[in-house]
Amino acid sequence: MKRAVAVLALGLSLALAQGKITVWTHFGGPELEWLKAQAQAYEKTSGTKVEVVEVPFGDIKQKFILGAPQGQAADLVVTIPHDWLGEMAQAGVLEPMGKYVTQSYLSDLQGVAVEAFTFGGKLMGLPAFAESVALIYNKKYVKEPPKTWEEFLSLAQKLTTGSTFGFLYNIGDPYFNFGFFRAFGADNVFAKDAKGNLDPSKLLIGGEVGEKALGFIKDLRFRYNLVPEGVDYGVADGAFKDGALAMIINGPWALGDYKKAKIDFGIAPFPTPPGAKNPWGPFLGVQGVVVNAYSKNKTAAVNFAKTLVTGKNLVSFNQAGGRIPVSKSAAKTLEKDPVVSGFSKVFALGTPMPNIPEMGKVWGPWANAINLAIQRPDSNLKKIVEDMVAEIRKGIGR
């Protein structure tokens, strides 16, 4: 504790020094403007120049891991999803944050979020906002969100006409589909061991759970005729923006565009799929700010990260783009916001995505299995699940 305070004091005194830090961000539009405004404000108070560089989301992880040790990466990244944490931490490019923050600072952040950004017992970044998918519906078509599967199905099928769709979503992506796996019995991707840590050797999405969930996803296409071939994220998102889609599974990141397209939307959890024992519950993702372990201007970077993740600034961030902050004080301010309250209910059903690096070995085969299941009406689910589990096991074992 003493040490943390000492480092903090050192940091504060150094923060006034001149220097320059680089920030990588995948934000766009109003959120990018927000970040640039924050950077300018920080420049004024600290005298440290802040350069904001836009890097596509998909490139950040690899570029950071390759570049950081060579001194070729940004001093901090705004933001990374917490499921990258394990891999990036193991690659050694993340600066542990525990020594820079006080307990009182952390106490304003929700426990789940702090846990999501803790790897190997160390806080590796500052969580900023949470996200998960939910059922987003267009109020023009759906007055009351469906509570049961039967309601949902009849509504969706009724609304699927020649020119409008009842329900579409990014059906090939496991992130969007985890809710179904959870409903059919998988609490998470991995089971927890005695100490409460995720145990990569205990895979929960295989076996009967996997078969049932895949069966349901397949039925969405071939039995209920809801999500046809060729639908990916772009198609579903475009349809919703176009006002031609009643219900979609999507996350808070898309809401800015929906507002811009003047869609009157509501947020609700997906109803429990038929034959499932648990309610639907999505992956809870937390995005946060991380600092480069090889940064030449670490204190400035850490201080900037901390100014970004405060209750006040997260509220203004929410107003810019509509993301859901993990700061308790910010959440209190935004209590009345329908998006925040809507998603908070969905978050309560969800479970955090694993942040251990083994998760990286799961995504590929998992997506593969889902895509195989929805490829043909006569796909062999048992074999697909077995193959998936075998490939994941092999990947993790190596």
Partner: protein, 442 residues
Amino acid sequence: MKHPPGLKGFLLALSLLLGLLILSTGVGILGYLALEAYLAPPGWTILVLALLVMVPGAILVGRLFPWLTDWYYFLPALSFLLVFTLYPIALTVYLAFTDYSGARSGFPDRSTETQVVAQEGPRLLLEEPVEEALRCRPCAGETVEVYAEGHRLRARILEAEGNALVLDRIPPFQAAFVAKVNAFRFVGLRNFSFILSQASKALFPVFAWNVVFALSTVLLNALFGLILGLVLNNKALKLRNFYRTVLIVSWALPGVITVQVWVALLNYNFGAINRLLGVLGIYPIPWLNDPDWAKVAILLVNLWLGFPYMMTATLGALSTIPDELYEAAKVDGANPWQALWGITLPLLEKPMLPILLSSFAFNFNNFYIIYLLTGGGPAQEGRLATAQATDILISWAYKTAFSAEGQSAYGLGAAISLLIFVLTVAISLVNFRVTGALREVR
């Protein structure tokens, strides 16, 4: 004065040139290291310094061995090749025998960072039990990094017990933290044995489709190009230059752009192609969603991209056939059909063969069409996530090393690259044998 002959002369010249290059690079690196302490110069100073040494060095050596000056014409290309082609290749070959990957990058794992409480020679006392803090079991033999503000040291753990560990060397500074290094190791042939052990899920089907793809796309394009070439070669046809110019548009447009456009056009529900088929009374075709149709889609798009080249090549080859042959055939009473089979096609063989073979070699590693059109997908049962229905070797390697499915397995990716290299060389050797291209050079 005269050039020393034969192998001896060649080796002598080569070693002089390489010696010059290595000497100047060495001076560049040394100079950089010397300057580093004072100026913090950028890395490319090495190149500038090397050049500054090389030019006078070359003049000097040229004075000593006047016959060597002929070789200087090779210097620009050779030095570039060495630095920007051969060096990366050598590094890749080395990586193929390691388990280098995103997580095993050879850098300390900061999530194992543990404070050093006390230090006594090579013996460090940590805050927590070593095995737990550094997450290693057993810890002896692991590489760790010991560091403090402004200092770094790599060392190996000799023994670890409780909160204490003993390093194989004494840190020359007061250590503040210690962290485990995720070192990558030399694994011998393990990457290759992994490829072979998964061969039925990746290597064999991918290789088979790779050959089928390259072969059929060349044949298809050539057939189409041949027909068009024959049609447009008809001198009585009006507007033939117009057609010729207009039809090569798909060659003229950047392929990276047009292939991405095709992805949109081939969408199952919303693509223009299936809409067109709908109007024709044909049910929508899962162009990019079915493992077999995706292969057809790739062949068709590659036909669209590639037929203008084959058409142009055919027209070029046809223009070399003298008209007198046809006139003579006409006099002999041959009909156009006989002229085609008897004169045109046999005479086309010689100029077209090298074009077909090099086109095969090109398509064998045609990464862009596969990666942009289908990304290797769609999924196929019993395959690895990195080696899907339409993946060819090169896209498999790329996905293994650089995409989310492959998890930055750089070592494995490098091993596959090496495999591709061997296969390409083998194919090209056959190619050269058939065409006799190499004999002409001699």
